[in-house]
Symmetry: C2
Subunit: 351 residues, 2 copies
Amino acid sequence: MEISEIGEFGLIKRLTQSIKIKNESTLKGVGDDCAVVQYAAGNRTLITTDMLMEGVHFDLVYTPMKHLGYKSVMVNLSDIYAMNGTPRQITVSLAIGKRFKVEDLEDFYAGALLACEEHGVDLVGGDTTSSLTGLAISITALGEVRPEDVVGRDGAKETDVICVSGNLGAAYMGLQLFEREKSVYYDQLLKEKDPSKVEFQPDFSGREYLLERFLKPEARRDITMRLAEAGIRPTSMIDISDGLSSELMHICEQSGVGCRLYEERIPLDYQTAAAAEEFNLNVTTCALNGGEDYELLFTVPLTDHDAVSQLEDVRVIGYITAASEGKKLVCRDQSEFELKAQGWNPLANQD
Amino acid sequence: MEISEIGEFGLIKRLTQSIKIKNESTLKGVGDDCAVVQYAAGNRTLITTDMLMEGVHFDLVYTPMKHLGYKSVMVNLSDIYAMNGTPRQITVSLAIGKRFKVEDLEDFYAGALLACEEHGVDLVGGDTTSSLTGLAISITALGEVRPEDVVGRDGAKETDVICVSGNLGAAYMGLQLFEREKSVYYDQLLKEKDPSKVEFQPDFSGREYLLERFLKPEARRDITMRLAEAGIRPTSMIDISDGLSSELMHICEQSGVGCRLYEERIPLDYQTAAAAEEFNLNVTTCALNGGEDYELLFTVPLTDHDAVSQLEDVRVIGYITAASEGKKLVCRDQSEFELKAQGWNPLANQD
């Protein structure tokens, strides 16, 4: 169905009619000049926002609209967890080109609402408009946190233990796989000219985990819950969107400290290692700079070392030092390098 | 200066370094995974968001970046006032193409921060990334309101008086002027081929007010303040972004009522009327459907009729009826028409 058949208000009605408010704090959702929310007395509000542009942040050749909706929401929820808060509401703004149908937008919303459902979040507003070119997505998430629970990037102290959840580099390898298969497909298309004659089956067997890490990242609420249950309060926390190296440097710079990160401690999935070898890439470099992991990187006091070591899916990867000792990566052969932020930089890389 | 010279983090630092937090409620601004805010105990949070796309919502041929920054913020603040709240924080996300320089972004931010300054609002976060094509802007505003002060679109009651602030149709006529001069310029350019040989002076004399209404709209905080001082609480309120007709229909539909709107009461500036005549347009149509006025449309109980009539820059334009009586426009000759929403619809008009 063409969007012009139902117009902006018709489209918004269609996309939002199934929404049921889940949070007590959501007093008014879609349908007025503003959404209205009210958190428990004394609690603080967290706000984060991310913009995703077609051709820069996502490629619709291998990204289904439903996955795109899910991921766009998840990357925002991840920022709320990274402040040790609980996400409550999101707004979703889309600017869409002429080639999109009502069904495409319904798929996007289905994915976005699934992510909301899993995290108990209400979609309370947004904007839907047109774009002369590609798809633009802008999502803002609001979260709630008790004042004493807020964890920023600036609280890491000397001797603190550096921890990370899950494993790193998998999403980056997933992206490499998609890009490779896309090239193979385009090569065939160039030869055949007629798309209907291209018999193309992408070869992803045994690599499903990597594709899923790229297409369907999960915000790590489970980690912040486990930390709270174990009575461990991180001194600093950040989510890994640009890459471990870049994020650890943010913590060090904002906390005024240094660090020692141990290469052998960096958690990797075997599929990530196997794919890196296949692509002739250094797997540590992928884990340090790949980005889009959406794992949590955090520091805890040394006294919590034993407790944190016992948490499921959390790995101790180094410790915080004085700023004067620099930000060091200690390699498997005990050689040391200064950490560099080579993570994804959309503005520096645009040429 | 090229943006790639300083990268995303360098650019954000440069754009946000002059920001000074003005609100007690802003506990943490730019620089972490989330901004952190806390309003006075018991108060509610208002959230609104708008997306503006180059070529759809603005034309950089006649929109200076500083004005664009100012306007992008103002249209969001206007939504907060339309709920009878006080804006406190905004986030600003930009996706920029290669042709933009650091100085362009600095101009945009200068305009955005000027709007913030005038309304006591803090810029607390956002996202800056690249676009393969045009400029995309997404702004979210947060506001604070006491529970008893919230005014939605759904509270209008039979016999309520319909009021509007300022005058209508001026921004639309400003846009027509800009579009006309742009056409004249392009015609000359086509003849001359060489841009440096085109001696072009746009003819805007005596029309400055219309251009300003289009380029630099003002969110009507003064109106909500005057209403509060006079002890008048609107039963419903909305800001006029798409056009008086469309907005009044929203109030009627969400309140389950009808209305009688009097053509002769619609406030017009003489420049709007003069320009409409010059363009051979019906000035009432411009006022009803032009959009981008960012005036406040609201209803008050009949008992407040005298009090509201005395407010500066507020005009009574009709009254609310039973839903069964329909939504009527009463013309100067006493003929009656059903109101139609012909306001700007970015999705229906895209072909």
